[in-house]
Amino acid sequence: MKAAPFLYQRPVDMNAALALMAEAKGATKLLAGGQSLGPMLNLRLVQPDLIIDISGLAELKQVKRSGGELVIGACITHGDIEDGRIPDVTRGAMQRVAGAIAYRAVRNRGTIGGSLSHADPAADWVSALPALGARIRLRSLAGMRELAIEDFVTGALESVLHPAEIVEAICVPVMRPSARWGYVKACRKPGEFAHAIAAVLVDPEAATARVAIGAIEAAPVVLRDAASLFGGRINGDFKRQFDARVADALLTKAGITNAADRHIHVAVLRRAIDEAAA
């Protein structure tokens, strides 16, 4: 199939982009890497009146360290992260996540901000970044707001992004030396969308744990304080303390009615925890 007709604009800077969005009548879509939007246009699943191509905006390709976090421009590609072209504050965690996203051709063009805006529950950043405690910066002519990733993604292909708002950057906190990271996904084939994802950040010293269970056809289940999965408190023995029944109950509550699906999710979570403990 071929895309339905649309107008195309390629603004030169952020202000021009925001102005275009504010003025736009009818449906507008932002185009960054186009790795999700492109197929959706061709399948006519989306038929915007206007496409604003933001892939040329220098403001969205900046990366800088700011206090205890790394601020990553929304148009940084998965390949930029995979190849180490930007600094890392996660002791390699983001690099490994990026390197396993889809196929290299997708990673060359697909962007971290685009992936989050699209909010596909099976996408890697949608689960990995909440576990890392990342936040998202949104900008419009009205100003800037910042919120936790888990507050940004609200459902399958749903977020709190306003029509005239643009994802500007992702803020990733510096990972503490004592923190342990685990990230596991189950895919039918390498490069395919996952059917189960688990991201785990456990810090036994600080007695904290963040857990995201993703690819569940809704927003991921994010536990900012995951102590309940580990018998109520986090310590160095968290691997043995993991209580699969609690995880299973969480998934049931999240609406996963098929026992086999829950079983796979819980098994993937267990493996992510094992990886963190290794």
């Binding site: 098929n258 086999a260 079983h263 796979i264």
Partner: protein, 795 residues
Amino acid sequence: MSDVKHDLSSAAKPGAGQGVGARLLRKEDDRFMRGRGQYVADIRLPDLRDVAFVRSPLAHARIRAIHVPERYRDVVFTAADLAGVTPIRAVSGLPGFKISEQPVLATGKVRHVGELVAMCVAATRAEAEDIAASVTLDLEPLPAVHDMRKARDAGAALVHEHWGDNVFLESVFEVDITPALDAPIKVTREISTARQCMSPLEGRGVVATFDRRLDQLTLYTGAQMPHIVRNGLSDCLGIEQARIRIVSPDIGGGFGHKGILLPEEVCLGWLAMRQGLNLRWIEDRREHLNASANCREHDYRITVYADRDGRLRGIDCDAIVDSGAYSSYPFSACLEAAQVASILPGPYRMPAYRCRTFSVATNKCPILPYRGVARTGVCFALEIMLDAVAAAAGIEPFEVRLRNLIEPGQMPFDNITRKHFDSGDYPQAVHRAIDAIDVAAVRARQRGKEPDGRLIGLGLSVYCEQAAHGTSVYAGWGIPMVPGHEQATARLTPDGGLEIRVGVHSHGQGLETTLAQVAHEILGIDTAKVRVVHGDTAMTPYSTGTWGSRSMVMAGGAVGTACEQIAERAKRIGAKLLQLDPAAVSLRDGRVCGPHSSIGLSEIAHTWYRRPQDLPPDVDPAGLESIGGYKPQRDSGTFSYAVHAVTVAVDPDLGDVELLDYVIVEDGGVLVNPMIVDGQIYGGLAQGIGTALYEEMPFDSAGQPLATTLADYLLPGPTEVPEPRLDHMETPSPYTMFGVKGIGEGGAIAPPAAITNAVNDALRPLGVELLHSPISPRRIVEAVLAAGEAERPAA
């Protein structure tokens, strides 16, 4: 016949020069590897217009009205416009067959999602799709027949009301089953294979143009069977065959999908003739997945009876094939089910047998014969059952095979369904396979514990592939296409080259190479100077085309026969030029040789065409171009076969399956080019792995197909297909030229059975037995949980 002997022992010599048996690089690869192939979508004609179709969004509905915006009235065509066009009819002569009429544009009702309703023409495909989107359909939804198991229930909705039920054909094959009923081992299972899509890299496509001077419609279409497309098109358009030319250029994978007459072909042909437009329609992947190319969906309720030692006493089976809404042309809606009943016993001996089959109409697009046709499902059902018999008898699965396979001393052998097995040593193939996969080593590994907690399994499957079956077989099925003698034209050119024209089509089989090898075997002409012309009804002799693994046997035989005739004529001319008696010369290495002198074929050709003044007056006027016709001595088919053996590791928590080792022992008779045969097996294996583990087109209860893109319809890729270890046996067929057998489909037949048996072997300690393909992670985990062996949620 000539004095060119088909000495099997010499023909089978491996790698002998360029002739039969040589591992010759493919001639066609030069253009393919350089990206110079020409496919339908590459064809450019002046002022070429694109067509997009309005397709039914519903599986089953009555058409109340089709609303076309006024401004598009001239470029949108519906059934009401198609005056004189008749529906596609593929009637089987089997008694009781009910006829479906497939309108090329929907009339009265729509019967599957994606059925063509209107044709829209514009300068580009995008604009044509815009127009298609502006056409609105007023449809009255009807209940959809979406499950073949319920299609025969009383009160089920009817796909074709005037039938009174949803059964294209019910058939029974029975050899008194009662003697088997007291067998000590009786295993019963319900087994099924998912609906699939064939998914060649290139979809279908049509470019149509009308030549006023010739008063001829030319249709460029990726067709395995161009002459059969012409038959069907001539019928539907109601015009003489001579006014239609079908050109089938390079094809990016056929697999059966490109053997079918499409309503799109009829639509574009009609409009090109009517308006003199150059038109193009290129199938996109969504059309392919949802509106075409469906295949494979079988359901078996099967009981196998055996003695305590695993010897088969009989099989009793009810099988259903979900044939979809229409009988597709030319293979019909019941070829698949008719095959099930006749091939289910496979290469095994048994004294009793009964199989009842139903070809059921549903609100899905028509089922088409995919590489292996019914054999993949049959092999899946039977080989899973043999493992169940082995478990019941407490013996190794390979023992069950060895105790029941036809013995080499029994060849040729007529099995219980009167299939005539021409040759082969099936037990030897099993022995070679179990040696290669090393059963003892796998069993030892299974007794240990894998460090990663996975479970190891070993599976095998045996199949036979009846190929190049001809008149006697297809006349019985009475479908619109019955193959007779195959013909080929051979022409020695004035420069000593050879042109071969065949009505079959080469699309991955390497026929441009292997037919040249056959010519070389007989005439000694360098294969570089042999051109094989195919894919054009104006340039080739009539043929039913490429299907049923028939082309090497049939076209190979025809080319061989034509070349023998050329050889005879060249010898007679050569003898004249050498002033020798024709009986005193022979043809060797491309030269006509007498006791003391010789003359090359190129010199003979030069003299014949360019210097006829040098020929004696009494020369044979027949010349150096000849049509050869060929049928094997028996046309009941060649039987190639193979044993697939696979070792897997199964993750019982995630349901993942890894193929650790894959062995194929294959006997395809005398191999014309073993390297090409290897390639055919690799490709077939990849498709078989798809059937086993990945490919599934699910439907909801409204008859909506649920896998609409390749993100949902998973195909195996490089990381999913291991490199198999191949071993060839070469038992010649006693009935064919050179002893060749058809091998094109085999690779796709055995993998689902072998892999499922291996997974079942791995999971047997958990009490798990998988019976439905594909064995996806969810099916595996569900079975593990259902078996009650898994621990609590996170085992």
